[in-house]
């Protein structure tokens, strides 16, 4: 019929080059290039959600997650951890007096000793943490109140710290080193641990204070001005100590030049601000001595606290934590439980979907597409 001389070939776009007007064959015509990209014919993988892919995926995820979860849970549970709150909120608490009387301005250290009993020996290396609660180290005004250049040993920043440090930038017209609110609020309790022999004698547990900070922090991010060889007292001359500090930055560990000044590891650890208001920070490490004896044998211990740090004002808590660690870090049962739960839900969903598929799956026969 005359109306239907509809040319499929021409539509197909694979015709040889059209005969242009004017006949000049050399003239490039405007026919678009026949590339897969331009014609939107790029080869592609077109996955669709079918019972054949979705259901096995659910079962596989379930089957993988549950064992992982169990493994994590067991690992977490095997970690030994002891937590002692020495804030001194209760009247009965040994540190109650210190917590009541203490403020930043006192000059006399307040000591208190907290006895505790270890009913299980800690076999491997033990890590000693101090933990703070309700302490907003992640507050914006707090987080930005530091000068990384100064901490990196920049001489110019030492004498004129960044404005971010305000109001802890200068004191008595002298620049503060280290400046800023973070440094100013450095945790300054001293914790010591004593083992009480059954015969009653106290043995001090050796606490290692180095190796507690990140390597990058210790070696790259924090540097003393003028290198570590110089006399820090000279270097820091003309600067003022942070207002809350008892001693200057170059007196943090006078015994060890490698742990003094800005590269004091306690200081570095504190300067790595926590993400959440409840956090723990590594304080000391108790290395395992020999293979025979546990690092911390079971028995009676005393925690000697030099109580300097006031947290009562903001209802904060201070804790001392002794913990062993595993391949997945510290004790936290959440991941294990979450994996088990998610795995089970997956498995369960898989079964439910399978049932639904068996019941209604025949609906999806493509034959019934209306055309």
């Amino acid at each position: 019929m005359m109306a239907s001389n509809y040319n499929a070939k021409e539509e197909d776009g694979h015709q040889p080059a059209a005969i242009g007007h004017g006949g000049a064959g050399t003239v490039k015509n405007k026919k678009p290039d026949n590339t897969a990209f331009k014609q939107q014919r790029l080869p592609a993988w077109q996955p669709i959600l079918t019972a054949g892919t979705v259901l096995p995926a659910f079962f596989v995820i379930g089957l993988i997650f549950i064992p992982i979860g169990i493994g994590l849970f067991v690992t977490s549970n095997n970690i030994q951890e002891l937590e002692i709150d020495y804030t001194g909120v209760d009247m009965s608490s040994p540190c109650y007096n210190c917590s009541q009387s203490y403020s930043w301005n006192s000059t006399k250290p307040c000591l208190c000793s907290v006895p505790f009993f270890l009913d299980q020996p800690f076999e491997s290396n033990v890590f000693m943490y101090y933990g703070l609660s309700n302490f907003y180290q992640n507050h914006r005004r707090y987080v930005k109140s530091r000068d990384d250049s100064q901490l990196n040993g920049d001489k110019a920043s030492l004498t004129s710290p960044s404005k971010e440090c305000e109001p802890y930038r200068t004191s008595d017209n002298k620049p503060i080193a280290p400046c800023g609110a973070i440094a100013n609020s450095l945790f300054n309790d001293t914790l010591e641990l004593y083992y009480i022999d059954p015969n009653g004698s106290r043995t001090a547990i050796p606490l290692v204070k180095k190796g507690i900070a990140w390597w990058t922090d210790k070696h790259v991010k924090f540097r003393n001005p003028g290198g570590n060889d110089n006399n820090l007292t000279v270097v820091f001359q003309g600067t003022s100590k942070p207002v809350n500090w008892r001693k200057s930055v170059y007196e943090l560990d006078p015994s060890d030049p490698d742990n003094n000044g800005f590269i004091n590891e306690d200081f570095i650890v504190w300067m790595r601000t926590a993400a959440l208001p409840t956090f723990r920070k590594l304080y000391r490490i108790i290395h395992k001595k020999t293979n025979m004896t546990p690092t911390l044998p079971l028995g009676q211990y005393i925690l000697e606290v030099t109580y300097n740090y006031p947290v009562r004002s903001f209802e904060g808590r201070k804790r001392m934590i002794l913990s062993t660690i595993s391949w997945m870090g510290g004790k936290n049962p959440f991941l294990g439980i979450a994996y088990i739960t998610v795995g089970s839900v997956c498995f369960f969903l898989g079964i439910v979907l399978l049932i639904i598929h068996h019941k209604y799956g025949n609906r999806n026969h493509s034959a019934d597409i209306p055309s």
């Binding site: 405007k30 959600l49 943490y129 990196n152 609110a181 590594l282 870090g329 994996y339 209306p370």
Partner: protein, 1153 residues
Amino acid sequence: MGSLLSQLGLECGGKDVREKERHLRANDRELNLSYKYADNAIKTSKYNIFTFLPLNLFEQFQRLANAYFLFLLCLQSIPEVSSLPWYTTVVPLVLVLSMTMAKDSSDDMNRHRCDKQVNNRKVEILIGGDLSLILLYLSLLLQADLLLLSSSEPLNLVYIETAELDGETNLKVKQALTVTGKLEDSIEKLANFNGEVRCEPPNNRLDKFTGTLTLNGETYSLDNERILLRGCTLRNTQWCFGLVVFGGPDTKLMQNCGRTTFKRTSIDRLMNVLVLNIFGFLMIMCLILAIGNGIWEYQEGSKFAAFLPKGVNAPFSAFLTFWSYVIILNTVVPISLYISVEIIRLGNSFYINWDRKMYYPKSDTPAEARTTTLNEELGQIKYIFSDKTGTLTQNIMTFNKCSINGKSYGEPWQKVDFSWNNLADPKFCFHDNSLVEEVREGNPEVQAFFRLLALCHTVMPEEKKEGELYYQAQSPDEGALVTAARNFGFVFRSRTPERITVVEMGELVTYELLAVLDFNNVRKRMSVIVRSPEGKLTLYCKGADTIIFERLNPSCSNLTEVTTEHLNEFAGEGLRTLALAYKDIDPEYMEDWKLRHHEANTAMDEREEKLDALYEEIEKGLQLLGSTAVEDKLQDGVPQTIEQLSKADIKIWVLTGDKQETAENIGYSCNMLRDEMNEVFIVLKHHSTWNSISLVFHEQSFITFLLPIPPHLTLPPPSLSTQAFALEKDMEMELLRTACMCQTVICCRVTPLQKAQVVELVKKYKQAVTLAVGDGANDVSMIKAAHIGVGISGQEGMQAVLSSDYSFAQFRYLQRLLLVHGRWSYLRMCKFLRYFFYKNFTFTFVHFWYGFFCGFSAQTVYDEWFITLYNLVYTALPVLSLSLLDQDVNDWWSFQYPQLYTPGQLNQYFSKRAFVYTVLHSGYSSLVLFFIPWAAMYDTVRDDGKEIVDYQSFALLAQTCLLIAVSIQLGLDTHYWTAVNQFFLWGSLSVYFAVIFTMYSNGMFLTLISSFPFIGTARNSLNQPNVWLTMLLTSILCVLPVVAYRFLRILLWPTINDKVRGRGSTHLSLVRQDKVLPPAPRRVQARRTSTRRSGYAFSHAQGYGDLVTSGKFLRRTPKSRPALFSQTDSPLAQTQPQSYRTISEWEEPPLSP
């Protein structure tokens, strides 16, 4: 031309006061200049090289999003508020501004080029001295409204074609005033011509012109007859002189074009609404957090003051925090949204330009997306308004079939060889040899049939060389019929007012033409009375079958029956039919009749009526000869396209300036009208062709609804307002309701402006997306009015294409534009928006949750660099590749199942509901992404006992979890995984890891200590197994519900897309081969026998009979003008007096049937 015309005295100027009258004087530039009339130049460009930067920046900052970011930038400069460093805003803002600027500058460069092209079209103009006249040549498209002064033709006639204006292809005649006609082509006289024209101000009435010409103290009235409008084409006229009356935007054509409005898609509008809602939402979030901050400062902060840098009091702190959170949470209204949307649209536009399946080799025309901002709207079209001539049809008539003396000819058999006839038109083809045999054997009826065709018409022959005949037909139908007669051996050779010379089977015969009983729309027939050389008087008549059959001699009732059957067949095939009859006339009666005819012709009153009565009297007792069937050739694939589109639930309305019969006929031939439909209603038949609209409704069962419509739907008097309102307000709703109940709507006799009004009507009340497709200048207004305008680049000039949003060469490409490109664009845009909002909301909500754990202090969860780069680098390319490459089903399936198109019409993929769903989804994801890492990291340490829950490590964990989760979500949304998608997705993730390791490296830290404080975080965190386990957990938890939901949805409530996709996967091999076949034409024209419908259609106008007989139409040798034509273009031409510019307008082939 603009520069030239401005010398004519039509300077462009601001029209503060509404012009009451136009006054100009030929050859007096100073006077003309003083009025500051519009220049003929058309300016569309916006900038020049100096104004570009300030203007463009000014414009860009007028956009809400950009202004908002500028405001953010200001906020960030306040240290108390600034929660993010300046670069997080500046980097994206600069990027966005510069990209937009690049696009704008290239757009404006194009506009400059176009303007230059349009404005530099050349015509010959008499300048120098104080000459200000225009000279035109044959086949020229007029570029301004002219007052005709003189022409090469006798009686100062010019012939013009107005297809650009109204779509009618027949010739029209204009005549100059005798007084100006005397000027002829004498430059001397023209130069001294100092007539003064006073006329109406510019308006959009194409049929009316009033004014006066004052020459030598005498005043002559001017009417429409003297005016040549821009857009007309000069035909049959060697040259003419004219005086420019209206130029450029003042021309009637331009006044009729309707206003250009900035088109926006419905998604755009939805997006704006959403963005406003998001702003509100953002404010609420900030308010909650600010209140939280106030409470926190009051309860905790005050006690914590010893540790914090000194703060301010709680209410003020809350106020500051509010703004800080405005900065942090600004990612809910990401600036990159707009730029990405633009890029996606641009990309999808390029696909249209690149599509070989929309490339028309015959005219070497690829499809073109002229507007790059409307693509997704192509996937939502509900109504298509189509022009007829040149859009659905090729505007070519072919003599296809005929029925002679009860025998039907023309069944396609084999091509007939006309080589025996040396006067035959080589382009003509016919497929039934038996007819040639009959005519050569001398079958008297067949010969009479063709003799009639050769005699009864108003065609003008033109014989440039011996034997090379060109017919200037006033209607293409007549051209086809006369050409058919010519090829079958009855060659119409020449005519004078009294004689018609025909070569009958090689033999020269001259007939004496006694009378022409002209055609008009009431009579629906025309006749001629001729005297053969033998002295026999015969009346030949052709016309509508119904009319002719009433006037037949009863003796041919048998023949009538057979012919009727044939006519039904022809009509069923959508052919345009005419019945032919003749009658021998008694010479004495003729003498008497002629006398009476002369009397009637000279009668002062009731001339028309008297003539009609006379015609009626003589056209009686006719002998039926047969019928002709002319095909108004449709463009290729039109019926199939229309069928496909209607399967996609798209309503197609045909709006044409043409006659009702013609339009209906096309309706049948392209399957829009079918015989089982009832012709329901004709709203109005007004006398004036320009001011009436008649709608033909076709529907099966809704007749009752049509009754309440009053029989008149008239216009207000046009004089009241220049913006004629076609449809009265109170009728609009009735009209629309009726029209929408019908399956097919065809509007005939609509003016360009009315076309636009019909479109506006539907736009206004139906809340549907409309598309207008047309090819001529008369379609410009509706192309501009519709949401999307499509121009067919055909024969009718470029006006439609220039104002269209998309253009291509063939109507059938429309289905590919809509069903494939439109569908994909819509799908991609919706996917993009859903995903984009998802990823940004998820990103932002995590900050919201973190607010509760950081004392509402506007501390960010993520690294500042991550915030800067998240939208611009880490997630930009994968989502772009998704939204440029994704296909849920390929084009083959889109054609197979046009129903796949309907979700777009219903706004299913992106709506407010989908948006709310997206927000809820992000809410869930953000909860997972914050609280899982929070719980997993709570109070824990690294595997060497050192810190892991520090702020920096937590930020790294949270951002990595987020990025992985949104990448997986992207993967789930991707249906079409090409190598590009894979590359961008994996590439972006790799880039992320590369960037964090680089930024957190020693080197970066030591170079710029304050900017890269995260040193070592990546190294220290990403080697921890619990970090990776947390990421895995969050990813699975984010994805799990989505997969389960989607799986269930496909299982229980599958959409057609799911089904087709499911099917597609089993037919993957087929799909991969990409054997895209056009849908098989399922419907062969059903032969219709039951109902009777006349196939009559004849695009002829009244008045040509008079022309033919009066001799006006006859050509004598044109007055020659050798001196002028030899002048060539030279740079001096403008300054030298008495010179002409030479024409370099494109040449069109002479009109031949």
